[in-house]
Structure formats: structure tokens, C-alpha cells
Symmetry: C2
Subunit: 261 residues, 2 copies
DNA sequence: ATAAACTGTTTATGATATATACAGAACTTG
DNA sequence: CAAGTTCTGTATATATCATAAACAGTTTAT
């Protein structure tokens, strides 16, 4: 019927959190001056989550930290889920050199993954928020843009590029989460080996038998499973190893495509 | 001081959930007969989580489904966290052919990743439970054993093998979670494109500019970002693509090692 | 000047996990 | 077989959470 309305960019139909992230929420025209701001709330929330974890982040915790009542926050942010989205968005604001770097694509991919991982390390709660959709907010899209830039000069179509972006960002996310889990366990006062299994190494060696676990048994006994040899082979090496395998795999794909021509 | 005690396998010192998973919890000798069992509780919890999601899984929901009071569950399981661990453990009970398969290592790795992903698909809540430590329960260790089996005949040391296991299982986890998120979004009645961004495609194209997002812009406009061409290039293809890249990367590592000799 | 829109607050609701105290049941030990 | 100990399932209670609804006061548009 009203085709004009239908075509009219329906920007307001975006989910509320995403609309806010693009600054599409309309400012109030009447009423008392606002004493708070969305920015203030999001920043406070991030501080709390950084220091005390996502589990400790409650609306009342944020409000009392700001010196307001819990419900006042809802005058700014429709729901806690929206707040989490805005927190993600805010910490995704990475600055990245705009000028073309002289590094080759392998190095660019390494850099991209490292940047992603650094977000997880600065904000350990980042990986605790589940992914509910493809990135749609300004800074998150910037991250995708940066990821795509690593493939700029490669002979790949758009779908191949997106597959690679998905692979790299997924790897970064996974690394970030595992590394965070380790740090959390260490900080929690548990002995540094609680997450790597070192603490339970002795118990495990009593429970794991060669008959039941033929392939695990020798690895466990050598100490490689519970990371017993600190310094010699750290978990960080595992991540670098995985990343290099992924990049090698991409390179091989490029070479095989070249041959076909 | 008492060296004997220190050496004494301290199996009871394992976290309660892990001790239970190994059957190390001591059965009561007196008192009324138990009307429930840990198994029953865990199974019921899994059914609920399968059908209604992890968010709907409360202790009272489980109890009422069993016809008991909420608090009765605590006579069997110390805490909800322990219950979650036991749920993970139970659905990790995969049967896998014990005889040596004739497939080559690439195919074995593909199979392993597929098995892992199938767990995430049968039990969508599986990926919602965060990883708090290296696998320590019987079935989860069995999964590690199976993963290691894919590297059995490869010329790699134990650390290299563990790095590969970490890479493959991490990839499987990530795929499983993303696929689940998609299905969840679809089942939630949202149009099938809500998570892939199709729904917001029009809005995005208004917001993303070439100046601000030089590398994303063309990909978005071509429709590759929001998966506009269904059937032509599905998300499943992305996952296969990534897996093949990882396997290629491993192969190249093997070849480079061989050359050095 | 008046009405509408908006503010921050108070109060209320319905979840949630789990601590505690109880009465009755069954096994262990005299 | 008797008594005490240990265990059962339950009822009650607490503390924490997100958020809905109603309210009185404030600013702006008309």
C-alpha cells in the first residue's frame, strides 16, 4: 500500500540496542535535564565488569556506583541485554592505522588476531557475552572491516573473504576465552595450575589407564597434558601454533587456486 | 611432615563434581532408601535444557518435573554448578569405533570435529556452559583420547599433539556455538535471517559508508556479508572451508618437519 | 498558562540458588 | 532386639536479581 514508508530505510526497526549504538535514539525534547548519560552508565558498567566480572554486574550495582537508584538506569537503557551490547560495542573501539601497512598478508592476519585477543585480555567478560547475531554495531563492523583488510590484495571472492574473516575472528575469540579462563583461575587464588590441570595431575594419573585411554595415557604420563613443564612449552605457544597452522592453510588455498588458472 | 598422606592419591581432594563423575562419592550407609539418583536428576536436567534451553533450567524446574521439592536435589548434588558439569559429562559419552579405522589422518580429524559438533547440535546448551578447566571427567577425557588418536601415527611430539587437539576441539566448539545461535534465532520465530543479518541488510546498507568502512563496503553491497544468496553459499560451507584450511595447515607443518630431516 | 513529555524515586512482583531446621526412616552397634 | 546415629525428603527463610507500575516534580511546546 504505502510503498514509500516501506522503502523508507526503516532504521527505527533495528533492535533497540543497535539503534542506540548508531545514535539513532531520539533525544527527549521536554522534561527535566538528564543527570546521567548512556555513556556514563556503559563506562561504569565496564569498570565494574573489568574488576569484578560479569557475574557481579547487576543493575543495582551500577546504579549505586553512580549514586542513583536502580530504576533510574531504565530511563536510559531499555534492558540489561542492551547494556551488554553497548558494553561490547564500546570496548570494540580499537584504533588501527589507516595508512596501508607494508606488512604481507600473513603478518596482517597475525596482527588482527592479536588485536582481537587483546580486547579479551583487557576485558575478560567480553567472551562471556554470547553472540546473538552477525556484528551490526559501528565499532564491531569496524573490526570486520579491519579483518577484511588483511585479504584486500588477495585473489579471493567476497564469500571466501568472509569465510576467512569468520575463521580468524572465531580463532581469536576462542583463544581469548581460554586465556581468560586461565587468568581467572589463577587470580582466584587457586594454585596457578588449577585450570591447566596441574593440581589434579596426580589424581588423574591414578584414574587414567592405558586400556581405557590408549592415546591419552602416554601424553598424560609425559606431563604434556597438564602442562607440567612450565616455560618449556607454554599455552601461549599453543595459540601461536594454531594460528600459524590456520595461516598456512589459507596460504595453501591461495596457492592451489593460483595453480588452477 | 606426613609424607604418606601427601602421597596418598588424594582423590577426594578433587572438586566435588569431578569426584562424582568418577564415582568417587561415597554412598550413604544408613538412613532411608533414596528415592532419586544422581543419574535421574542429570537426565531430567538434560531433557529440560534440550527442550527449553539452559536459561529455563532451574533447580525447582527439575525438582517439580521429578515430583520432588527443590531442596531434595541438594541431597544428591552439592550445587547447580556441579549439576552443569555432570550434564556436560553425560552428553560427552560418545561411542566411537575402537578398531583402527582405515581412514587417513585428515579424514579422522574431519570425523572427530563432526562428532564434536554433533554434540552441540543435539544439546544446544552445551556451548553455553563456560570452560573452567582442562577436561578432567571420564567421558571428556575420552573425547581427548579420540582427538589424540587422529595424530597416533604422525611424527609429532606430545606437545605438538596437544596443540593440534586444542586447535581442533576449539574449532569444533566455536562452530557448534555459532550454529546453535543460528538455530536458536530461527526457532525463536525471528525470521531466519535475523542472526545472519539479512533482516537488517537494508538498514546496514544505509549506515555503512565506503569512507568509513572501505573493505566492508563492497562485501556488504554484494550481499556476501548478510548471506543474501541462500543455497549458493551457506554458512555450513564456511565451516567446512575453515576446517579444510586448518587441516591443510597441519599437513604443511608435517611436510616441513619431514624436509628438515 | 496549560498540557504534554520526561525525570528520578518508591514500591512491588516473581524469579532465583541455597542455608537451616525438622520429623521420620533405616542401618549399626550394644 | 533396642538405641543411637545417619540419612532422607520437606518446609521455611533469606538474599539477590530484572524489571513493571505508579508517583510527584520539572522542563518545554503550544
Amino acid at each position: 500500500m504505502k510503498d514509500k514508508e516501506k522503502r523508507d530505510y526503516k532504521l527505527e526497526d533495528l533492535p533497540s540496542g543497535i539503534a542506540i549504538s548508531w545514535g539513532l535514539d531520539k533525544q527527549p525534547q521536554r522534561g527535566p535535564k538528564r543527570e546521567l548519560s548512556i555513556n556514563q552508565i556503559v563506562e561504569t558498567a565496564i569498570e565494574i565488569a573489568d574488576q569484578e566480572g560479569l557475574a557481579a554486574l547487576s543493575m543495582s550495582r551500577i546504579a549505586s556506583s553512580l549514586g542513583f537508584t536502580t530504576m533510574s538506569l531504565y530511563r536510559y537503557i531499555p534492558s540489561k541485554d542492551d547494556l551488554l551490547l553497548l558494553m561490547q560495542e564500546k570496548v570494540s573501539d580499537i584504533d588501527y592505522p589507516t595508512e596501508e601497512s607494508e606488512a604481507d598478508w600473513r603478518e596482517k592476519m597475525r596482527q588482527y588476531v592479536k588485536i582481537c585477543i587483546s580486547v579479551f585480555q583487557t576485558h575478560p567478560w567480553f567472551g562471556d557475552i554470547p553472540i546473538t547475531s552477525v556484528p551490526l554495531t559501528p565499532n564491531q563492523l569496524k573490526m570486520v572491516d579491519i579483518a577484511l583488510r588483511t585479504t584486500r590484495n588477495l585473489p579471493l571472492n567476497d564469500y571466501e573473504k568472509m569465510s576467512i574473516v569468520l575463521l580468524l575472528s572465531g580463532y581469536a575469540r576462542w583463544c581469548g576465552i581460554i586465556m581468560k579462563d586461565m587468568n581467572t583461575a589463577i587470580q582466584a587464588g587457586k594454585s596457578p595450575g588449577a585450570i591447566s590441570g596441574l593440581d589434579y595431575s596426580a589424581a588423574l594419573k591414578k584414574l587414567v589407564t592405558r586400556e581405557r585411554y590408549p592415546d591419552l595415557y602416554p601424553v598424560l604420563m609425559s606431563g604434556a597434558y597438564t602442562e607440567e613443564n612450565e616455560g618449556e612449552n607454554t599455552l601461549g605457544d599453543d595459540f601461536d601454533f594454531g594460528l600459524e597452522r590456520i595461516i598456512d592453510g589459507i596460504e595453501r588455498y591461495l596457492l592451489s587456486k593460483e595453480k588452477k588458472r
